[in-house]
């Protein structure tokens, strides 16, 4: 059996529970960076989980990091935690020192042009829907050149122009424009296609873990509400219609967590990891279109208010399910692979 570090999970959970409050989330959505919270996570080493201690990380494994990201999702944490952790992994894996600045990442960059002029590189192009750029110092992104070579770019955000936008959870998702941005050779690092693919799938899995956590949370809230709210002289959870819905929601949240955990432990080889991550992102994203309406239906009018915290999770779930490709996007790839293979489906599994 593959195990995660129980102590780490427990202390992290405790910190989130105490600190990542409804108010903190509201403030973050209104533009205030939760600095104290972030610094606390940083000092506990949460932002460098999965980076070996001899590289100045806090040790543990990537699996532990994904477990922490699930906790972050289950508290709707409005911080670039997944982005920072994943960026830090890339640095270390490419033999670079860990930066002590804040990082964000992007993997959506179709038309980025790289030109090398001896020691400097000139970058032109646009990165779309980049998380939390206003709270980060650098943007880290794998970029493929027309000749098929991959590079990891570390772009200081102060050299770029950003156009603000946000997802419907009030998390910034800005457009970052590079116009003749000049980088030095320590900011443009050659990487293998395998490494780039790994980056992309770790990013996907990060979101998936967060969704799995948030799904657990809306299930917990719904069960609680069904026990507390009374109508017709009894808790609404006593009505068959509500029991049935809660049973469906429980199935969705549980299965989503199974596949997310399974993807996080699929470390046998790259290919297996990538396949499992795509399946997890597809399944978890897909489950949200059924799960969120159930949670809202059980809460009814109170859950439609800003005061009740339910929306902090459901708006995130609605946003995250489409980030880095919705279930439609990934299911199409899975389907295409299956159909174009010469093997039967069963033998492909």
């Amino acid at each position: 059996m593959i195990t995660i570090e129980r102590m780490l999970v427990d202390t992290t959970e405790k910190l989130f529970k105490q600190t990542c409050t409804k108010e903190l989330i509201n403030d973050a959505e209104n533009g205030t960076f939760p600095k104290t919270f972030w610094n606390e996570l940083d000092s506990m080493g949460i932002t460098t989980i999965g980076v070996p201690e001899d590289c100045n990380g806090s040790g543990f494994t990537k699996l532990d990091a994904f477990a922490v990201l699930k906790i972050a999702g289950s508290f709707a944490a409005p911080i670039p935690l997944a982005e920072s952790i994943i960026a830090n992994w890339q640095y270390v894996e490419l033999g670079l020192p860990l930066p002590n600045t804040k990082q964000t990442i992007s993997m959506i960059n179709e038309d980025v042009d790289l030109q090398q002029h001896s020691e400097t590189w000139i970058i032109n192009g646009t990165f779309n829907r980049v998380p939390f750029t206003q709270w980060a110092d650098d943007l880290v992104s794998p970029v493929k050149t027309p000749t098929g070579k991959w590079y990891l770019l570390k772009i200081p955000l102060n050299l770029t122009t950003t156009v603000p936008d946000s997802n419907i959870a009030g998390e910034s998702r800005n457009k970052v424009i590079c116009k003749n941005t000049s980088l030095n050779s320590s900011q443009v690092i050659a990487m293998t296609p395998e490494h780039a693919a790994q980056f992309i799938h770790e990013t996907l899995l990060g979101r998936t873990m967060m969704m799995a956590g948030a799904l657990q949370q809306i299930l917990t809230m719904s069960i609680h509400h069904a026990k507390e709210r009374q109508q017709f002289g009894r808790p609404i959870g006593k009505f068959q219609a509500i029991k049935q819905q809660l049973a469906v929601l429980t199935g969705l949240a549980t299965s989503a967590n199974v596949i997310a955990d399974s993807a996080a432990t699929a470390t046998v080889d790259n290919i297996q990891f990538q396949n499992e991550v795509k399946i997890a992102k597809t399944y978890v994203s897909q489950s949200i279109s059924k799960a969120v309406p159930i949670a809202h239906q059980i809460h009814a009018a109170i859950g439609f208010t800003h005061e009740h915290p339910l929306h902090q999770y459901t708006r995130r779930l609605w946003s995250w399910r489409d980030e880095y490709g919705s279930e439609a996007f990934w299911a199409k790839q899975i389907g295409e692979n299956v159909i174009s293979s010469s093997k039967s489906l069963w033998k492909q599994l």
């Binding site: 009374q230 009018a301 439609f304 708006r315």
Partner: protein, 386 residues
């Protein structure tokens, strides 16, 4: 099949179709002049005094009310056409929606001559707006559990208590308040009465409740010794429950129960038309399924408008329209996500992404307002004799 489930097949007459063209021409002119931005859920969120007055000038607010009260004496079918066209265009019709749909017909059926003369002309001018005062903190699905009460003191009534989730009360003029006028007994539905309450009267205070979207839409409304005269009682004392339930067929069968996200569907098709990869079998199939459902729901809702025009009972089939219609509203959102790779965003440069965000953020309300899906389904069960 149960007789109450047999719906007549109703087809629009030529004159009705001509009228529809007139409404469309009006909307097109306004769209060209950019006097409104098409939006989802516009009958709930699109509050515009100007727009309501513009429609009233055309005679399209309170159009079924008799001429002597400022209406046009037109049929429910014509009203159906107006509401459908307005919703499909995503026009801001929220201000007068409740007064036109519910309060007017209620007063015409049960109101006194004084009430009709006092309130109906203003409604028809698109200037006087009403809200629905039913729900209370402990009376949601269990509506009969309300505690707001009016007690007679000499020749006046004193209203005390509170209502919650009242759409638009912070912007509207009056509320039809359902309250207790007799002590609650085993028979919770008895001893309830309807009053017209001026929302600016002394003793009324209104606290907007912010929606999960950040918008202000519904409210908590408190009554503290609000003085009401006998003239403000609607219909018979103690008959409030029955009177209110009679209006539910109007409330539940209208096109607002399946067109709340229609502007997104229209925009989705516009985007698909522009995209080379749109002509996939998958897109055709999904759009085809939506169209088949939409046409069916329109036929059903129109048939009910016909039944209501003939004063026939339709509350069971009305519940079916609401349930099926709400499912359709949500299917549009999910289909949009499947066909066009994008992310919902309220501030996007793209209309499609803005409409998607609005539809999604408002979707939890669809299956709650006007009776939750669970309650509707139990009404259907009862109607089937289960």
């Amino acid at each position: 099949m149960e007789a109450s489930l047999q719906l007549p097949v109703s087809k629009a007459s030529n004159s009705l179709t001509e009228f529809r063209h007139e409404v469309r021409a009006f909307i097109q002119k306004e769209l060209d002049a950019e006097s409104f931005q098409p939006d989802c859920d516009s009958w709930l969120a699109g509050f515009s005094r100007e727009w309501s007055m513009k429609m009233a000038e055309k005679g399209w607010v309170g159009m079924t009310f008799p001429k002597e009260y400022g209406g046009q004496g037109e049929s429910n079918l014509k009203r159906y056409v107006v509401t459908e066209e307005m919703l499909a265009a995503g026009a801001p019709v929220a201000a007068h929606w409740i007064a036109d749909r519910q309060t007017g017909p209620l007063l015409l059926k049960y109101g006194t001559e004084y009430q009709k003369q006092t309130f109906l002309p203003g409604i028809c001018k698109g200037e006087v707006y009403f809200s629905i005062g039913l729900s209370e903190p402990n009376a949601g699905s269990d509506l009969a559990n309300i505690h707001t009460k009016a007690v007679k003191e000499s020749d006046e009534w004193l209203l005390n208590g509170s209502k919650i989730w009242t759409s638009g009360a912070h912007l509207q003029d009056y509320m039809i308040v359902l309250c207790r006028t007799e002590k609650q007994t085993e028979k919770k539905h008895e001893g309830l009465s309807q009053f017209i309450v001026d929302l600016r009267a002394k003793g009324v205070s209104i606290r907007p409740i912010t929606l999960m979207t950040g918008e202000e839409h519904f409210n908590e409304v408190f009554f503290e010794n609000v003085r009401l005269s006998d003239e403000m009682i609607v219909g018979k004392l103690g008959e409030g429950w029955k009177q209110g339930m009679a209006e539910l067929a109007f409330e539940r069968s209208g096109p607002e129960r399946f067109l709340s996200t229609y502007p997104l569907l229209e925009e989705m098709i516009t985007v698909l038309k522009q995209r080379a990869d749109a002509n996939s079998t998958y897109a055709y199939t999904e759009i085809g399924k939506l169209v088949a459902t939409l046409v069916t729901l329109r036929r059903m809702s129109f048939s009910i408008a016909q039944l209501l025009e003939e004063d026939q009972p339709a509350s069971l089939v009305a519940s079916l329209v609401k349930d099926l219609g709400n499912q359709f509203e949500n299917t549009i959102i999910e289909t949009a996500r499947m066909l066009i790779e994008s992310e919902p965003s309220s501030h996007s440069e793209q209309k499609y992404e803005r409409l998607l965000a609005k539809a999604m953020l408002h979707s939890p309300g669809f299956t709650l307002r006007g009776g939750t899906t669970e309650i509707l389904r139990s009404i259907v069960g009862k109607g089937l004799g289960l």
